[in-house]
């Protein structure tokens, strides 16, 4: 009964400052919209400069294959220095340069006619993609040429690939579920850290402690309203993922609820822990941004592959709870209930939640003595 009273008091406090509600509901919407529409790793219309030192029908046939590709928006440069000038000014990302003896070399069966490709390597990942697309367009030209001459352009080995779970490689299908984990980290940890730190700062927590309320009731009374708020934000995010962004959801709903609840507990525990260390809102908000949002974004496998990080950093990612939840979400959304993926990761999250909640509970008692 006392607990219920505390929950009610806390809920009223949440309703009074609309920014709590905004953190729980506005932030997921804004973030999902930005990521869902704004972030794409699928390049299209790469600006490309085409230069032929001695333009003729052969070079025109090669250049036509770039016109036909959806990946490029090519333009012809009159000479190499002009094209290089465009590359320096970031007007184009790459130059395809055909030297003057190209056609002659092409007729000569003993030689391979060279095509020079210059890419802007500043964005290494993008440069590698551009290179692969150009290679593909060039391959099309070779095949068409061989076919016209009645030859086979087949390579000795062809690689047939089948991509499971996301055949079209829509980046949205993995970004949106991953983002849900980032958002939940934010809601849980940032909100709790701020609220609890405010109580420490104002001394209202000590005031509550001298009432007959037990410390456990006090903490539960704080956490329950934020837990409900967090689950609400979660439900909103999942609804947007499924209905707005059309990400398939193949897993079971109950497992999603259960694992989300455990993940939310790790975030709430972390927020509580931060507030106890910081004791003031300014420091708490800084620590929350630095230790929750950025690791959930960068060290969770959300965008950057954990397996490719150096060993010491991979070890560090084991304490980032978002790492486990993102794996669970990707599997639940795109592959279904794969128990060998879901349960070990759930256990890891339980351990982290127990650590943060348990340590916070002990530290509060100690700090009052």
């Amino acid at each position: 009964m006392r607990l219920w009273g505390l929950v009610r008091k806390e809920s009223l406090q949440i309703l009074r400052d609309p920014s709590s509600i905004a953190i729980a509901f506005l932030m997921p919407v804004v973030l999902l919209l930005i990521f869902g529409y704004g972030v794409s790793l699928n390049a299209k219309h790469i600006p490309l400069a085409l230069v032929a030192d001695a333009p003729d029908t052969q070079t025109a046939a090669l250049f036509a294959s770039f016109d036909h590709s959806v990946y490029f928006s090519p333009k012809i440069a009159p000479n190499l220095p002009t094209a290089e000038h465009w590359l320096l000014n970031r007007q184009v990302d790459a130059i395809v340069h055909v030297p003057s003896d190209f056609s002659a070399q092409l007729q000569n069966t003993a030689n391979q006619a060279p095509v020079q490709l210059i890419v802007n390597g500043v964005n290494a990942n993008q440069a590698r993609l551009t290179q692969a697309y150009i290679q593909a367009a060039w391959q099309d030209w070779l095949s068409a040429r061989a076919e016209a001459a009645g030859q086979s352009a087949d390579q000795p080995v062809t690689l047939a690939n089948r991509i499971w779970f996301n055949p079209e490689l829509r980046s949205r299908n993995y970004l949106v579920p991953g983002l849900i984990a980032v958002i939940m980290t934010l809601i849980g940890a940032l909100l709790t850290a701020l609220v609890m730190a405010r109580e420490w700062e104002r001394g209202t927590l000590e005031a509550l402690m001298v009432t007959p309320v037990h410390l456990n009731e006090l903490l539960l009374g704080k956490l329950i309203p934020y837990f409900v708020l967090g689950m609400g934000g979660m439900a909103l995010s999942v609804a947007m993922a499924v209905w707005l962004f059309a990400v398939p959801f193949l897993g079971s709903f109950w497992i999603l609820i259960l694992t989300s609840a455990i993940f939310l507990l790790t975030s709430l525990g972390m927020g509580l822990f931060i507030s106890i260390i910081a004791r003031n809102q300014f420091v708490a908000s800084l620590i929350a941004i630095i230790t929750t949002f950025l690791p959930a974004f960068m060290l969770s496998g959300f965008i950057f592959d954990i397996g490719s990080m150096p060993g010491w950093l991979q070890n560090l990612t084991y304490i980032v709870s978002a790492r486990y939840f993102i794996v669970i979400l990707h599997t639940l959304f795109l592959a279904g209930d794969v128990s060998s993926v879901i349960w070990p990761n759930t256990l890891a999250m339980l351990a982290i939640a127990a650590f943060f909640l348990g340590t916070s509970r002990r530290k509060i008692r100690k700090s009052l003595e």
Binding site: V39, I118, G121, N125, I163, L194, R198, I287, L294, F304
Partner: protein
Amino acid sequence: MWQRIFALAIKEFQALLRDPKARFVIIGPPLIQLLIFSFAATFDLNHVPIAIYNQDGGQAAQSLVSRFSGSQHFEIVDNLTRESDIKRVIDHRDALMVLTIGPRFEQDLLSGKPATAQLIIDGRNSNTAAIALSYASGIVSDFNTDWQQTHHLRAPPSVIITRAWFNPNLESRWFIVPGVVAILMLVVVMVVTALSVAREREQGTFDQLLVTPLHPTEILIGKAIPGFVIGMIEGSVTIALAAQAFGVPFEGQLATLYVGMGVFLLSAIGVGLMISALATTLQQAVLGVFLFLVPAIILSGFATPIANMPGFVQDLTLINPMRYFMVIVRGIFLEGSSFNSLINQFWPLAVIGLTTLAFAGWLFRHRMN
């Protein structure tokens, strides 16, 4: 007037750095983060787990497999003997991909028919899948070239010779580290400026400041100075670390970079003070910081190119100061860009800075009374 502003700035520094915890969270984490994120944030994959299902015991198949085991990008984790195992290793995330070589592989290859190798990829993370696929295609294409040479088959009549400017080995770290420098500067400056006024308002000390002879504009400048100084110092340290510890080449002029940092900090401080003036509690200010920071980072071209975004989002990035600063930092680091070639990045930053500062000043005068 300047004496009063100077006194206020000194007071701001003292308020900011008095608390040892606050001192630590402003100085320590950015450096730790530069270290961690610079190693974490890479799109280059290493040791991608791959399983092999080789139904052809012949030499050709073996030599293709050994190209995968010899590559630093792949690590063979399993040799499958049954087709039904493929689903298991992919579902359980034991391997990211399975290479299947059919029983007629060598026979087809020797008889001149196109031989097929099949690659099954886990598409749950579509970006990793696409990069791993491009590595695999590269390995098969190298295999083909060698096969054609050793078996005296006709090589393709043309060849592409690639050169990458500014980043010859296409290292993504060179691209990411300068971006991380920009992000850390933004985060610190936003936190320092946006939370400074909100904190005073919540504690009621801002009213005391208003009854002093200080003009609102002077208060604005006094509040802006600590963010500027801290941003400059932090920027200098992280830039030195990026160039010295991470070996990112620094090709441009240091003076040009400092001009860029100066105008960028002005625009970041303008936004920070705007948020500060609009918020009435610290929690609202933190929410405001988040609602600005996350889109500013995501839509800056830090990890995914702006050119891949839909048209209206690309237009939206024009008001994002980070977008311009990313180009400046990377241009000066990797391309050795001159002041003149970056002029189109400098003036929008200056416009954003002046607009936001003027608006913040207006808010200070009108919302405070």
